[in-house]
Amino acid sequence: MEELPENVSAVSRLSIFLKRPMITILLVGIIIRAVLIPLLTYNYDIAFWATTIQHAQSNNGLYNLEGYFYTPVWGYMLSFLGLIGNFVFGISSYGTMADGLLASLGADWEFYGVMTVSPEFSILVKSFLSVFDVICAYLIYTIVKRFGYSDRKATMAFGLWFLCPIVIYTSAVHGTFDNISVSFLLLSFLLAMDRKYMLAGTSFSIAALTKFFPAYLAFMLLAYVLRTNNERNSKAKAILSVAAGVLITAFLILIPQIMTGYASEAFGFVFDRVSSIQNDADSLWDFIATNGMLIVLLLQPLAFALLGVMAYKAYKAEESKFNETFMLMFLLSATAIFLWTPAPTYLLLTIPFLIFVVVTAESESQKRYIIPLILLFVSTTLYSLTMHSFSILFQSSVYMELVSAETILNGIEWMSHIISAGLTRQTALNLVMGALETLAIYSVFLVYIINHITSKKRRSDCVGQ
């Protein structure tokens, strides 16, 4: 940051500071969130976050009662948030049943929760998640700067994350925690760059025990640590430090579940989804989702093979192109995790790397990654909006009476209308948006393949001349 002359007044200093593009981006992002947070809330998930805090309050751990289905990290974060909500802000009620909207449970889409959280609880959770949006934006900014790019490009990366529609939607409307997992992953990478390996391992462990998907990127972290240490001894020391960080942290996180016999419940997020393959489908969408899980499972060998190859390519990259190749391989690895059609918020893990590749692009071929970026921004947001549809208005209806229950129920009824052969509008829209999201995911690989072919052609043309 540039130093200002001493004779500049405090007002001028503040004015110059506020005129920095990053501050403008930050303010715009905060204003957008401040408007959305109290108005739109997807209740299904956030109502379970209230349940999780309730478990902590009643001294029942995370898994002794029904209602918490993830690995412990998010539960611990919620417990911390509960302390703030209860002892600092004095939130007395977490939510109520939306009696007037009970009929929505009969809709084709089975994830309209009628347990509607109170606006104060919603604001508490979503504000906390928005802080992680800021942290993520700052970490992406730092990564761009660390690789030697300009402040302008780093600020652009900051803005692309902080103003990204699906990032805003995930924290300010959906109220779910994918950005916490992303924050810890980025932290682990930056800490590895700073050779703070133990802390890098700790952060990686937390990332993977928050939403599981970062675990797939262990190959890339390994490749980076090995590549950036030249001596055999330093390589071994670095890997051992990372591994110690990962294992000690995992142990500290999971020890209560191991001691209380709830270790398998702690991994319910993975096992429940895999075992759902055997379940009978109640609706067309259920059938699609059930078979979708089978596809996810079948794609795992391919995903692991791709992850291995990309980590190897990153490790073997030419010295002069290491940074560029490494981040491109990181992007492809973060995309290869999702060769299926994931929940839109899962793709928050891919977005930072795509943003990096786009803002640091210098050649025409690199700039092509703008297409997958736009496609991901648009498709994930539309897919979320389609799935949640009118349910994001429940809180506004119950607590603020801004929208009538009748309007919401009419909207849900319209979405549940069968248009052809058992296919409802809801399912049709979900399928279209899901297909668009899948296209966005595969477009990352498509751009890579096109770039590879054109560069090969260019090289052979040069040799021919």
Partner: protein, 306 residues
């Protein structure tokens, strides 16, 4: 001033610390505590509530007439962890007199039914206690004033005899046999007890007994209480759901019987300690009344019956 490397390390340390503070608050040093006490006077009752944090409370006074609220629960477990969670839900509500058994041993425990209840999982009744005959041990249980909480499921034809439900005063037509949902809260306990289950699939018709929670447009009820001989049968629709685990614990802990009438319902907020009174205006016989206090509304963290 901090350089960027230190800022990154500081962010990591702060976030990691936040997570571990959350873990410690759950498993090592839980900062939450709640309690309640009730003292009867001739025409009023005085209640004292304490809470570590700001929280809503509900106080219900139930007139049970001659019926005896449940003070002992026998769970006929099918081995599912679901029943352990119901026990934990009951513990939150200070109901600890629970016996866990299985279908093979339950008959041995069915003596002195008054004030006792049996919790039966989703599916047909254990054959050791009920086969559709009016002389079965379960019918003797009802005759002695015992209660049964059942997670429903209409028995399939062929699996049981046609008259299977007759001694219970039910028929196949009383059950909801298709996926269906409620549209309205019903009865005097739904809102005061913050009941949640709104599924009606496998539940009973509302008019087959007393609907306690929610009812569908076509007249099915999510939780129905029915008088059977001198006892009561409460049927939960929807099976072993998360909502049912809470509602089941709530109804048992509150001491709701088929004859219970809600005579007072008081709500408010507590932080620290408060002492308030409920005035009835007429002389009250405490033996016929039970008082149930719970905190947290739909997110219950404490309950106690007096």
């Amino acid at each position: 001033m901090l350089d960027n490397k230190n800022i990154i390390a500081a962010i990591a340390v702060v976030l990691i610390a936040a997570m571990f503070v959350g873990e410690v608050a759950i498993y090592v040093k839980n900062p939450y505590s709640y309690d309640a006490d009730v003292v009867w006077d001739e025409e009023s009752l005085e209640y004292t509530l304490t809470a570590s944090n700001n929280i809503t409370y509900d106080l219900l006074v139930l007139d049970n007439e001659d019926s005896v609220p449940v003070t002992e629960l026998i769970i006929c477990s099918n081995g599912s962890g679901y029943f352990d969670r119901i026990v934990n839900e009951l513990t939150i509500r200070n109901f600890s007199n629970v016996i866990m058994t299985d279908s093979e041993n339950i008959a041995d425990m069915m003596d002195e039914p008054e004030g006792k209840a049996i919790l039966i999982p989703y599916g047909v009744f254990p054959k050791e206690i009920y086969n559709g005959n009016s002389t079965d041990p379960l019918m003797e249980w009802f005759a002695g004033g015992g209660s049964v909480f059942w997670f429903g499921h209409m028995p399939s034809n062929g699996y049981v005899n046609e008259e299977y439900l007759t001694p219970l005063g039910l028929s196949e037509d009383d059950f909801c046999t298709k996926e269906n949902y409620s549209s309205l809260p019903s009865g005097m306990f739904c809102k005061p007890l913050s009941l949640r289950n709104s599924l009606v699939y496998n539940g009973l018709k509302a008019d087959a007994g007393t609907p306690l929670a929610y009812v569908s447009d076509d007249g099915f009820s999510s939780i129905t209480s029915k008088k059977v001989l001198n006892g009561s049968l409460t049927v939960f629709a929807g099976g072993h759901t998360y909502e049912n685990s809470m509602d089941c614990a709530q109804l048992i802990s509150a001491g709701v019987t088929a004859d219970s009438v809600l005579s007072k319902h008081v709500t408010g907020e507590v932080r620290g300690s408060i002492t308030e009174s409920v005035v009835f205006g007429t002389e009250i016989i405490p033996e016929n009344n039970s008082v149930y206090v719970y905190m947290g509304g739909y997110y219950i963290v404490f309950g106690k019956r007096f």
